[in-house]
Symmetry: D2
């Protein structure tokens, strides 16, 4: 009943061809809300570090759908009893839509405005949208089911773990895709092999023991990608500049500053009152256009930050071996002394507060909302969390190698460098 007469094909650099056979999926892709993902980059500001990383959340979402489709197709082909066949459609829709709530430069905006893309995804799925109307064609309660999978409250955990677990379709696609578009070759692993060793087993997706080395390789890739791509200090720098733009704009907005340029969605965002319609109008084009206009605002701090972002004149970074407790205080004091603004011209940073994790072991029966760890199924049908079996995984699982960094605008500090304390100068390498 949902089959297209002729399957549709998307040419994809990562998966070669992505096939769509279901009318519902095809209609979802063609909604305004899903097409909007074309205007939101998958990796936020990373394109300022890796110029190839200009790919959108649109292409990633198609990729997650495709991997989910291939996993389910393997389960069906082999006739595994533990896979609930009636859950195919909800799984495919949830995998396609899991990121539909992402806004422009999502992580930065979430941090500054305390929003949450998962909640927005559910709002889009359940609200007055084209997506909601397409899903309702399946059944009246279908939008709720899809939203429940994305919010991890769905009553079939196996469906949730397809879309969201320590080895879900989401991660598999983004590691391969981000590696392809940045051009690094750390993120490559044997997707074909991993898909072949997945098994549905008592409400979970588990891994056959014979595939453990392939999973180790996937976790290693993930480890490498985090340190090489996601935590790259230059990307951190551009994220910091971006966040400071929003923080400064909000501060000015609260102070009643008369912006020369401020479209309603941005105003609502700064005001903390943004609704669904305005949120959907926000995209990276609008944010970049605003920055271009704000570069001419009278407020010097805002104008300077916007110019830095657009022209890629980012903050310099300096790693700190053992920052003492009062260092930040001290730096702020020094910054004020030379006329810089300690809130905007200085940032201390450690990557651990990023929305990525290398790998966390966990209980085979995790709390709701926790991600299922990777479980290995041996020939005698015993399940073991992978880090108990693999020395390699155990060793990365426990790693905390994030460094502290100071970020600051070198060009603004340099003219006043003589007025800084010698130990600070030395620490900053000035």
């Amino acid at each position: 009943m949902y089959r297209l007469r002729e399957e549709k094909v998307f040419k994809d650099p990562v998966h070669q061809s992505i096939y769509v056979q279901e009318a519902t999926i095809w209609k979802l892709i063609n909604t305004a809300e899903f097409q909007r993902l074309r205007r939101i980059r998958q990796l936020g500001t990373s394109y300022l570090t890796f110029h190839g990383a200009e790919h959108s959340r649109f292409s990633h979402s198609l990729g997650v759908y495709d991997i989910t489709r291939r996993i389910i197709s393997q389960f069906e082909r082999n006739g595994y009893q533990d896979w609930p066949q009636e859950e195919k459609m909800v799984s495919l829709c949830a995998s396609l839509l899991h990121d539909v709530g992402h806004g422009p430069f999502s992580h930065a905006i979430e941090q500054v405005f305390d929003t949450n893309h998962e909640e927005w995804s559910c709002a889009i799925i359940l609200g007055d949208t084209e997506i909601n109307r397409v899903l309702k064609e399946v059944s009246e309660d279908f939008p709720e089911k899809v939203a429940a999978v994305i919010c991890k409250t769905y009553d079939k955990p196996i469906v949730v773990s397809l879309v969201s677990s320590q080895m879900d379709a989401d991660r598999m696609d983004y590691l391969l895709r981000d590696a392809y578009f940045t051009g690094v070759n750390y993120g490559t692993f044997d997707l074909d092999r991993i898909l072949r060793v997945l098994r549905p087993y008592r409400g979970r997706i588990v891994v056959k023991e014979s595939g453990m080395h392939a999973v180790e390789d996937y976790l290693m890739s993930r480890y490498q990608m985090y340190w090489q791509i996601y935590f790259h200090p230059v990307t951190r720098s551009s994220d910091i500049v971006l966040r400071q733009i929003f923080m400064r704009a909000r501060e000015l907005f609260r102070e009643g500053h008369a912006f020369k340029f401020l479209l309603p969605p941005l105003a609502q965002l700064l005001n903390g009152t943004i609704g669904l319609r305005d949120y959907l109008a926000l995209d990276e084009a609008m944010v970049q256009t605003a920055f271009g206009q704000w570069a001419d605002e009278e407020d010097e701090i805002l104008a300077d930050l916007c110019k830095r972002f657009l022209n890629r004149r980012l903050y310099k970074y300096v790693p700190l071996d053992n920052p003492h407790e009062t260092l930040e205080e001290e730096l702020r004091e020094q910054w004020e002394r030379i006329g810089l603004h300690p809130d905007y011209h200085l940032q201390m940073d450690t990557p651990t507060n990023l929305p990525y994790d290398v790998y966390k072991p966990g209980s085979p029966d995790p709390e709701p909302k926790e991600k299922t760890p990777v479980l290995v199924l041996d020939e005698k049908d015993r399940l073991t969390e992978i880090s108990l079996k693999s020395d390699i995984v155990r060793s990365i699982a426990g790693l905390h190698t994030g460094k502290y960094y100071i970020y600051y605008p070198e060009d603004l500090v340099l003219p006043h460098v003589n007025r800084l304390k010698p130990e600070i100068r030395e620490m900053l390498g000035l």
Copy 2:
């Protein structure tokens, strides 16, 4: 004097690593005008056909620089007498900057507003810009030299042909890059081998005969890319919608329509009076933001076109085998009868008027402004234009397989389909 103390590296998915050793190149990359290329897609609207094609002119420009650098390095390593070593710097700068004048969705804008990106490149190089200031550091007349190479008036044709000829660094990069990002494998050819068989010879870059098959392969790739990517009818459709947005907006502007949203660069563009500063402020973010706002304009045609573009509801296309001369007239008349606007809801199209050509043979001593053809150097130092040697090349060189297509908004026509003449309905497959 121009060497960086430590070479800089860009990770590039196509060339793996792009090295910058010259301070001038590094400074040029960091100018505001060059960074702006990050906000302009290499393939215009093609991302609506191939979702991976989201790469920017920034990455392409780095690639052209890199190929040029490798060609020159090969010439230097082998000590070829016919290569004027003092031209290295002007060649590198021209290759990096050759596309710096591209605006957002360049080909569409050039067609509607009759601008020319090459002229803009020269205006940026010669005008009051950061780029101009960096180039002047080399020598007072250096900007003029770089501009002359790009405008093909430079007095050393060998330098012009590096950057602009039938087998220049520009094409070599874009074929490989566009193939990589779209995900097709038609565009791949053996770059390494081609770079090895190039020779400077009496003021031209020519190809050793032993490399002829590699060049055939390159020209075949080009042929395939044109038909598979550049002339793809879905991309033509999105280009048509885009052009019609601009045409409609200009028409409204001339009629004195009060746009709810119109930033100065756009107003100047519509007015035909855009200057350098405003041109540099135009980017695809601003254009997309305008479309998002215009989607709420009162003018129904403009609003409809903008929604189509953003939500990818493009015009349908129908190929025409042998369009008779009066067909367009007839269609326009029918369109008016059913209440559609023949200027905006109908477009006849053939790809031959695109800024791409498959391969044109030419004289070994072309007129100024004409592109040098590919010249083959045999063991007895005779030069021959390649299509005289290669049956394959001769066969593509003469091909004109562009089809006529009609493009129109199917959803607007369908409700009135009964009022169309039967032969028109049959032709449109309705």
Copy 3:
């Protein structure tokens, strides 16, 4: 009934994973006759030109099986009526076994001893072999059916054309595989896309018109591979040396020469009386071992030729632009004058007599034993031979660019160069 309990997987560099689901296929792969293909190189002496080309006919045969399996699986998935589903097993077996009759350095041996690998394939399938026994398990007449497909006498031409036509599984695999192992990138084409546009249609495999560009690309790859790999003059040189070894050995054998080393299969080969059992014992290891021993034979010509082959001291080649009719005569006369043997120390060669063809158009209803050409199916169900639709294909189809070459041992000629006629010396570049 033929399904394996668990599918088997071969890791393959070209197709990633090759799956075997049928017990019959698995058993065929494990026969002694099929394992023997591991000791026969796919590209004969090409490894002396391209050192990576060391891959065996074993891996190619698995690849042909895999492509055939994917084509049939596509036909089944789409439920095409024109595909006779009961022919799956015979198609898979024939595709796996089509090359099983190849001997060591097959093309050279076929030329010298006038054998034919296709006949040997049928002899192996029908004779007293493990393969025959496995096939008989399917049904008593199954070996005959498989042999009929390979010998092109099977009464379902659609099955024959899967395994042997202008665009069969055989060619698709060898182009991709030979490109992979030699390391050239000419042979790559979009296999995935081609497999999707194939259709069973009235007893043939045809191509949907929308896939024509992909087919053009495949034929271009084939054209490039022929000139770059298969007709490479260095490979021709090693083939010539190889053939001359066999010719000399046969001559000596007929003269009653007492070889120090001559295993029965080789003796039977030289004697022209080789039977199935001895043929199956022949492999490239035995041939190379014989050459190693013959390098110490008293016959100087044979010893010299064997050393040349093993130590890769091949004949030099000189291209001839317009060889006049009596040139060969003249050269032979000169060769004799300087004490060389005109049969063994001289060879004139043109590639046209190779077992490869670039592309030959043909009738849609070819004579038995002729290969079906590529037929394009348009939207109105009309079939057209591709070269009538594609200028590109037409242009390669008619090409005869094979050059004449002279091959000779330069080191043996050099000492006597002064005694050669001046025009001959000039022609040889000596």
Copy 4:
């Protein structure tokens, strides 16, 4: 003085093109002893597990040469003082020739006959060979210098560590090459990046700290390759069968058995008296030919083993969790009871005694003959062994995950299975 007039190019699937610019290198490649490496597989019997792994030591040796050349070229380009420029030629020659002493199925032969390929390499370089004559053209003592590098007694440790250390050109090539030809993607790492972060430093090759993640990735690849490829139990099985053939043949030889087929080099090998000339005549073709003939020997054990090897009817393997001490004894006793030969029909195996190691940390100043560990150079010029800096490396460095396996011919055991003790049957899964 050693430059070729025109550089030579080898097309290589791993490195694309391998360039030879020095006449000495070109001549070395063309010696009979080096060409012989074409007839010796890089991965021994692995082609029986991974059918693509048919590549030769010839191609690997060229690859090692190429990587060495690129490392040295980087050192020269950057003008590093710590690189002794006069050592270029000896480094290149040693890298090309480091494996020239390998015989057929080297590891198995070394184990059975207690030979050592490194010693053979030196014997070939110093003996009456074409290689020796080519090297002597450089200088009288040049062969000794090259041999000293290979035997790790050369007085410039930096040269030794290029060719032989924990991150030498040898390993970098074989990991990439073996991954390419087997078709797995575990072995890929960023060679380009690693080559860029190598530095000559006080008599060693060290790694800049900024490249540490790339080195981690390389060591991970190595770890994966060992478990996925080099220690693959099917390959172990074919190695065992091979060793047993040689052991049985030697036993028969010592007993005075009259072999129907036994060429002098094999006889000398079995006799333990093989000299340089005979060793050079040994290749895999001769070994396989012997096996083909021995398959008809009267000795049933030898004939059976040879057929198993040629027809890939290998021994079955069973992993053992905790083998008790007397297990082997017990199994041998049972084997004898059912009429099997415990020396030939049974083998217990653990991979730790293979000539591969995952990574061993070591002292920065290792004993002569020990491999230098990977040393990281930080910005303050401090050297640290990598496992002290990297948790990941530390975790693999200590891993001993090799399992015990029993190998045996299942088909010979099955008929007697009822006579085996129940606990043995259960352990063997029979």
